[in-house]
């Protein structure tokens, strides 16, 4: 009967604000184009694909800019299931630019490998499209779709080097655990829907009430949903896939996973906790508190004992994730805005820095053909530029002023101290201590670069392809500017009550 009732209701087509959807559309067009061009180009001209990908990404950023400059009003379509506000615009911009940098990073790598380039670019774009969508989703369904949209291509990218066992292993682990996690999350979502009788986040936030009759179900649901994204952002103990996948996947893909898909996970998490679960803070705040503390610490102690560079970075990005989680642990309270700002800033800075670091690693590995940290020995002596760049990025990750990283950590601490509860202080101290431990391994790499002899004294200089140089330039400048004039990014977080803006 209900079905009847539903069908009886008159159906009106929703008004679609195409301007708001412009970025997604451009991307969609772009990826179809890539697919087609791939079909009809000969091996020699495959390089077109990377160019095309790059352009479609840049093309997609144009509407983002226009939207940002147009007016500050919040554009909400599909009655609030899909919202374009500054927050989402910032994140879209971030994804697109990060994507562009990744294209620059990968192009040479992909060209030189004898693998399926067309698919590579296609999958990359698809995943990015998913992320861009994620930035705007304000509904369980759209969030779920966006999530799978960005995940599934990522699984395939991870396993992209078909002949390589490690790559396969990476893909499989990522895939199985990923779908498992999302299944768990879905279970949580289904319960949420049951309680709220709607998949719209705003409605859910209304229905959540931990003192009510459904408290148990809601608590369970919240936990499961958070777990789903905690997996995405590789928070301990849901991080287990990350090191293996990062190590096994092709380096550009690793860069992509560790930056873009992580960021996507975070914004989903932010959106959920801030718009859907504000009332559930008694559940997710402590949960995230624990996750954050664990993530920072475990990530660090693991990173300390790595000898493989990429794996070390994997753990480092795990512990970085912990720092991003830090402000979220207090986001439910007065510190909401500060926390949101902290997350945004941290993600931006982290993206720039981490991509830059992967850029250097790609450049160096072109010569050394090795993933060992020791292979960086004496880098400064034969490739000073790369050495200095790597130092800058590492220092930024370690959060040393005046390099970008510090402002991220600073914002995180600021959020915690805005909350000013004992738990917040405790977490802040844990964070402070971890930021020191972290230098243990960052410093170790620096030490290799500056103070260790070149392995078997091979001093041949490194030739860096121009695309890589550009990528490095962009990221390095970004890192420095963000560090010296943090106002630039902080202002993103500064827009009129962001938190309120989610509602649409």
């Amino acid at each position: 009967m209900t079905l009847l009732a539903l069908s009886a209701a008159a159906w009106t087509a929703p008004v679609i604000d195409y301007h708001a959807l412009a970025p997604e559309i451009v991307l969609a067009v772009g990826l179809t184009a890539v697919l087609l061009v791939d079909l009809f180009t000969s091996e020699r001209n495959k390089w077109l694909l990377s160019v095309l990908t790059g352009f479609s990404l840049l093309g997609a950023t144009l509407p983002v800019l226009t939207l940002a400059l147009h007016d500050n009003s919040v554009r909400s379509i599909f009655d609030g299931r899909y919202v374009v506000d500054e927050f989402s615009l910032v994140m879209k911009g971030l994804f697109l630019l990060a994507g562009y940098v990744i294209v620059l990073l990968s192009s040479s790598h992909v060209e030189e490998g004898d693998y399926w380039r067309g698919e590579y670019w296609f999958l990359l774009l698809t995943s990015l499209l998913g992320m861009v969508m994620m930035a705007s989703s304000r509904d369980l369904v759209s969030i779920f779709v966006a999530l799978e949209f960005l995940s599934i291509p990522a699984y395939m990218l991870a396993a992209w080097r078909k002949r390589d066992l490690r790559s396969n292993e990476a893909g499989v682990k990522y895939f199985l655990l990923g779908v498992f996690a999302s299944a768990v999350m879905l279970y949580g979502m289904s319960l949420l829907y049951g309680v709220a009788d709607s998949t719209l986040l705003v409605d859910i936030s209304k229905s959540i009430d931990l003192d009510g009759e459904f408290a148990a179900v809601q608590a369970l649901a919240v936990v499961f949903v958070v777990v789903g994204f905690a997996f995405k952002v590789s928070a301990v103990p849901f991080h287990t896939w990350a090191p293996d996948t990062y190590e096994g996947a092709p380096t550009p893909v690793t860069a992509f996973l560790s930056v873009a898909s992580k960021a996507a996970g975070f914004i989903a998490l932010v959106v959920l906790v801030l718009t859907a679960f504000p009332e559930g803070r008694d559940v997710w705040q402590p949960f995230i508190w624990v996750l954050s503390a664990l993530t920072m610490t475990i990530g660090n102690v693991f990173a300390l004992r790595q000898t493989n560079l990429v794996r070390m970075i994997a753990y480092s990005s795990v512990s970085q994730g912990g720092f991003v989680l830090m402000p979220l642990a207090v986001a439910g309270g007065a510190a909401g805005e500060a926390a949101l700002r902290a997350v945004v800033v941290y993600l931006v800075v982290y993206a720039a820095t981490n991509l830059g670091m992967f850029g250097v690693i790609l450049a160096v590995s072109r010569k050394t053909r090795s993933g060992d940290i020791a292979s960086l020995g004496g880098l400064f002596s034969y490739a000073p530029a790369l050495g200095v760049l790597l130092t800058i990025f590492l220092a930024s990750l370690a959060g040393i002023p005046p390099l970008g990283g510090w402002i991220g950590k600073f914002a995180a601490f600021q959020a915690l101290l805005t909350d000013a509860t004992p738990w917040a202080y405790a977490l802040a101290v844990i964070g402070a201590v971890n930021s020191v431990i972290a230098f243990g391994y960052y410093g170790n790499v620096m030490r290799e670069v500056w103070m260790r002899p070149v392995p078997h004294g091979d001093n041949t200089p490194i030739v860096t392809p121009s695309s890589l140089q550009i990528a490095l330039g962009i990221t390095a400048i970004a890192t420095l500017v963000l560090g010296i004039l943090p106002g630039v990014v902080l202002n993103f977080g500064d827009m009129a009550d962001l938190v309120g803006a989610f509602g649409g």
């Binding site: 779920f144 699984y155 499989v172 199985l176 998949t199």
Partner: protein
């Protein structure tokens, strides 16, 4: 109203699925267990949809089914991949990278 029974069923399926994921060493079986979980979710959604009389549940379920299909596709592709490379789909051999 039978909602609670549906939910119970969903829960049971969920548990079985989880058990399968954790216990099975065979990639295909793991995939199937995951499918189980997804289906438990679908049951939940539909049950709630009926109870609440809103369409969101149905829509959600449809999306899940579609996506699940895609996932299985990718999954099986990967299983094939590893089978081709190492003549086995035992997951425990896939532990080259650890620590």
């Amino acid at each position: 109203m039978l909602t609670s029974q549906f939910l119970l069923l969903g829960a049971i399926l969920f548990c079985i699925g989880v058990y399968g994921v954790i216990a099975r060493k065979n990639a295909v079986l793991v995939l199937m267990s995951i499918e189980l979980i997804l289906n438990s979710v679908n049951i939940n959604l539909l049950a709630f949809a009926l109870r609440n009389g809103s369409a969101d549940g149905h829509t959600f379920a449809l999306y899940i089914i579609a996506v699940a299909a895609a996932e299985v596709g990718v999954g099986l592709a990967m299983v094939l991949l590893i089978y081709r490379n190492r003549r086995s789909i035992g997951l425990d051999e896939l532990s080259e990278m650890r620590g």
